[in-house]
């Protein structure tokens, strides 16, 4: 299918709600959602009560701050760059996982917009900040400018200012349009960053080289080993990449994704505008999906025999261990709170390990990914591989809905992917597991690793048990007695 929504001529990429009909509310069964999405009849609805969401600008920041030799400017009031310091910490702490021996301090600037700037415009300030950032960051190889709500509303012409600056200083100055108010699906911020990178950094291919693009966050380097038998290396995008490795992303033999929510747009852009084939089947979580994925990778790399051999070896080695874990975990009920694709991955992993997924709290749903291939739909695979999930809730991190649902379902273990949610497992005395490294549970060995952690988590419940005895709870008794979807405005429930 031709890709609507990919047009690198435009300064800004359309947000997910517009481009691929993503929704942030749904209550019903997973099978119904998959079915309705494919029929094109999932509609988003608003909520008449809402709590703090995430923001596109932080997601765009996470894909740019961690590029080794770049500098990042937040064009807005100083508060819009406040939490970006966290990426400096991330960069430093995870550097050893990626072989970066001497991680350097991240260069993060704010144009520090003030009230007068909202009246007279912040353009001059931005131009000055770009010049200063270039000098002070020791001549970075690219500068990324992230827009914010204030800059967006006052209408600064960020695109032209960046283009002018680029001509002057001679390195790419990439305007990234990621104002928070543009999208309720904060993953739109990833797309915004990738769009800027595809427009300004990635160069047309001159040759094919023996590497595979891996669109991911900052997890451990599992792909290095996996790709070795195929004679290719991973080109990680974008955390820990360099401007140069990004420029050459077009020369890869394929693109793979650790998380389709994350890489949907860039994977499609690389295939459609730069001719790099994308492994379109969903990422390798759970045995069945792992095997489909290796098969597809083998096909795209023209080495199906290698893929078959890899699968065979791994089955032999890991299946007995997985079988043992299944016995230990059989019958346990889990609840999952995560972003879309990673949530689908967790569902596969948990069910492969023999747990019952009692319900989910998934931050959004992409009706399709940018490649429009149903093979990419991991939730679809989850349903057909392991059966339906009756309480499949899509909810953009509205904690009140989470506490309501958790207090009803009382699972044996609560699995979270994002910060701030785990507390509610502990407050209800439910053992809770959050793992930051998204590669941790990939493939066969990932199932073993993750299964062992699950066993430990379920067994070690003394801490949460104790905490729950003294829990602080701001929610009213009334709220716990209401249906979870009380504040959903029609349409999305089924």
């Amino acid at each position: 299918m031709p890709a609507q929504g990919i047009n690198l001529e435009l300064a800004a990429v359309p947000v997910r709600e517009v481009r691929i009909n993503s929704v942030t509310s749904y209550q019903g069964s997973a099978a119904d959602l998959v079915h309705d999405a494919r029929q094109g009849c999932v509609k988003d609805s608003g909520r008449s009560f809402s709590q703090c969401l995430g923001c596109s600008t932080t997601k765009a920041a996470c894909m740019t701050v961690l590029i080794q030799d770049g500098a990042v400017i937040s064009h807005g009031p100083v508060g819009c760059s406040s939490c970006l310091s966290g990426y400096d910490f991330t960069y430093r702490v995870n550097a050893p996982l990626r072989g970066v021996k001497h991680p350097t301090t991240r260069h993060i600037y704010s144009t520090n917009l003030k009230e007068t700037d909202t009246v007279y415009g912040g353009g001059a300030k931005l131009a000055r900040t770009i010049r200063e950032a270039y000098e002070r960051s020791g001549h970075p190889h690219a500068i990324f400018v992230l827009t914010t709500c204030a800059a967006g509303i006052i209408g600064d012409d960020v695109e032209s200012i960046c283009s002018e600056a680029e001509e002057r200083i001679g390195v790419p100055v990439v305007a990234i349009f990621c104002e928070g108010f543009r999208s309720k699906v904060w993953t739109s911020g990833f797309d915004a960053a990738y769009h800027g990178i595809a427009r300004k950094l990635i160069k047309p291919a001159r040759e094919r080289r023996d590497f595979v693009n891996v669109i991911n966050f900052w997890g451990s380097d599992v792909f290095g080993k996996w790709l070795e038998p195929f004679g290719v290396k991973p080109n990680y995008i974008t955390p820990y990449s360099t401007v140069n490795t990004l420029e050459h992303a077009s020369e890869a033999r394929a693109t793979i994704q650790a998380c389709s929510s994350l890489g949907s747009y860039l994977g499609a852009v690389l295939e459609q505008d730069f001719g790099v084939p994308e492994v379109q089947t969903a990422p390798p979580y759970g045995i069945r999906q792992t095997e489909r994925w290796f098969e597809e990778l083998g096909r795209i790399l023209g080495q199906p025999d290698v893929a078959a051999r890899v699968v065979e070896e791994r089955r032999e080695r890991y299946l007995p261990q997985i079988e043992e874990l299944r016995h230990q975990l059989a019958g346990k009920r889990a609840y999952v709170a995560a972003g879309a694709s990673h949530g689908h991955a967790l569902i596969a992993v948990l069910r492969e390990l023999g747990l019952d997924v009692a319900g989910t709290f998934i931050f959004h749903h992409d009706v399709t990914y940018d490649n429009h291939n149903t093979e990419a739909d991991l939730l679809g695979h989850d349903v057909s591989d392991y059966g339906d999930i009756p309480h499949y809730n899509v909810c953009n991190k509205q904690e009140y809905e989470l506490v309501n649902m958790l207090s009803r379902l009382r699972p044996d273990v609560f699995i979270a992917r994002h910060g701030g949610m785990t507390l509610w497992g502990a407050r209800f005395g439910i053992p809770t597991l959050l793992i930051g490294d998204e590669h941790y549970m990939m493939g066969y060995e990932g199932l073993v690793r993750y299964g062992r952690r699950l066993v430990e988590t379920v067994e070690n419940d003394e801490f949460v048990e104790n905490l729950s005895q003294h829990a602080i709870n701001p929610y009213t008794k009334w709220w716990y007695e209401q249906p979870t979807d009380t504040f959903l405005k029609g349409g999305a429930s089924r």
Binding site: Q51, K114, G180, M421, T476, W478
Partner: protein, 449 residues
């Protein structure tokens, strides 16, 4: 050599006005409600760390402006959100804070909030668009809004200043001072030690909203700050005729704790608080004796440790800490404060007094002081400075790498501070001075292995 005001900021050490949502979150059983873009809460949470009081950022109601509200205004969404927030969440006080979006499109938030207030709901509205000010300044704006729209509305003129031995304390800004909990607890202990009743207003030492309603009853106010918080005590002076005593820096160690207590005692006498001065004196004597007993034991280490201790320090912090720590280090540990850096965005009009306060630290030496909110630039300045001997940097997590580069010791004592947890630690007072010594020298000793 401060650069142009309101210029670029690298490595921000404070946040914008809506960061004052932490001021609300720090009042037991109070709840912020944001009328803002979706990311404002996330930014504060990431900056201050994942800690947040009764109702943390994930719990905080927010209208999460979309394009639609930007174009058509968001007051209807706000009305709906406030109404439902009080059904879902249990709180004694709600404070609606606005972000840039609401500020620029010009939503009339106050009249929406007024509708709820008229029905008897304890609710306050305050404008905190990020472009208006920093959270250092917005802290006062939020406190004053609560006083005007909630406290004063229920105040009884007859009881104003009715408690002679009672004070309201305005000191550490919640979260912006990473040690705010411990510090407020110590301030309270010290002031109670000299016979005062204290409205500490924030943290678990406070009785929450009920205590806020007692603000008018206090006889006078105590402000510990070189500049932030000043609008609060001035406002209370105007509103209730409460005088205030200002101690201009964070009182760390025995000298400063005693100076702080004496300045409050003087104010108590001026305001006829009726304190038992002998008992107050006895309290100070005991505190001092116990402090010097510990310092005397430590002196052997300070004087005899043969393998190297820091001899000079750069502090990168807010003005209150820079002056307070400089005084403490010089007089109570022997570490010389060399070039110092205030990164809190101190307005120009206060800078002279802060310079004078720092200059009074020593008759013998001048301590160079730079006001510069662009902390990335501050780091470049420090890169170009060299001194003989082993150095110490006290700053935020950002400065750890700088200290490493320079081969200095490092202590994380300012936000953002990802390398340190703070639960009940205080640097204020007699006990705080000893704790700061422990933290500095334990950091030093950890380098010997």
């Amino acid at each position: 050599m401060s650069k142009q005001e309101a210029g670029v900021i690298e490595q921000g050490r404070y946040t914008c006005a809506i960061g004052a949502l932490e001021t609300v979150a720090a009042i037991p059983h109070a709840m912020p409600i944001l009328h803002s873009g979706p990311g404002c809460g996330e930014m504060q949470q990431g900056f201050f760390g994942n800690v947040g009081g009764y109702a943390d950022v994930n719990t905080t109601p927010c209208t999460n402006f979309t394009e639609r509200e930007v174009v058509f205004g968001g007051v209807d969404r706000l009305r709906e959100n406030i109404a439902n927030a009080s059904k879902v969440l249990d709180s004694d006080l709600q404070v609606v804070l606005t972000g840039c979006t609401a500020g620029i499109v010009g939503d009339d938030v106050e009249s929406v909030v007024e509708e709820f207030r008229e029905q008897g709901q304890p609710i306050v509205s305050v404008e905190t668009p990020g472009f208006k000010s920093s959270n250092f300044e917005a802290h006062s704006v939020v406190v004053n809004a609560i006083i005007d729209q909630y406290v004063d509305a229920t105040a009884n003129d007859a009881t104003v200043r009715s408690e002679r031995a009672c004070v309201n304390l305005f000191a550490s800004i919640p979260m912006q001072d990473p040690l705010w909990k411990g510090n407020l607890r110590e301030y309270k202990r010290l002031l109670e030690g000299i016979g005062l009743k204290v409205h500490v207003l924030f943290g678990m030492e406070s009785a929450g909203v009920a205590e806020w309603r007692q603000i008018p009853q206090a006889n006078f106010n105590v402000l510990v700050s070189p500049w932030y918080g000043l609008p609060i005590v001035r406002h209370l002076e105007q509103l209730y005729g409460q005088p205030f005593v200002q101690f201009p820096h964070v009182p760390i160690g025995a000298n400063e704790a005693e100076a702080f207590l004496r300045s409050v005692l003087d104010a108590a006498q001026d305001n006829d608080a009726g304190l038992d001065l002998d008992a107050a004196e006895h309290f100070i004597t005991c505190e001092r004796a116990s402090y010097y007993e510990a310092l005397d034991t430590l002196a052997v280490f300070l004087l005899e440790f043969r393998y190297g201790l820091p001899v000079f320090a750069h502090i990168i912090h807010d003005a209150g800490y820079v002056v307070g720590m400089s005084r403490f280090l010089l007089h109570e540990t022997g570490i010389v404060p060399t070039e110092q850096f205030v990164v809190d965005g101190t307005p120009k009009r206060f800078q002279g007094a802060i310079r004078a306060d720092l200059a009074a630290t020593s008759d013998k030496r001048t301590i160079p002081l730079t006001f510069e909110p662009d902390a990335g630039h501050v780091q470049d300045l420090i890169r170009d400075i060299t001194h003989e001997g082993r150095g110490l940097v006290i700053g935020s997590g950002w400065d750890r790498e700088l200290a490493r580069e320079k081969g200095y010791d490092f202590l994380s004592a300012a936000v953002p501070s990802p390398y340190r947890l703070n639960l009940t630690t205080n640097y204020v007072g007699f006990t705080g001075g000893l704790r700061l010594i422990e933290d500095v020298y334990n950091g030093v000793l950890a380098t010997y292995r």
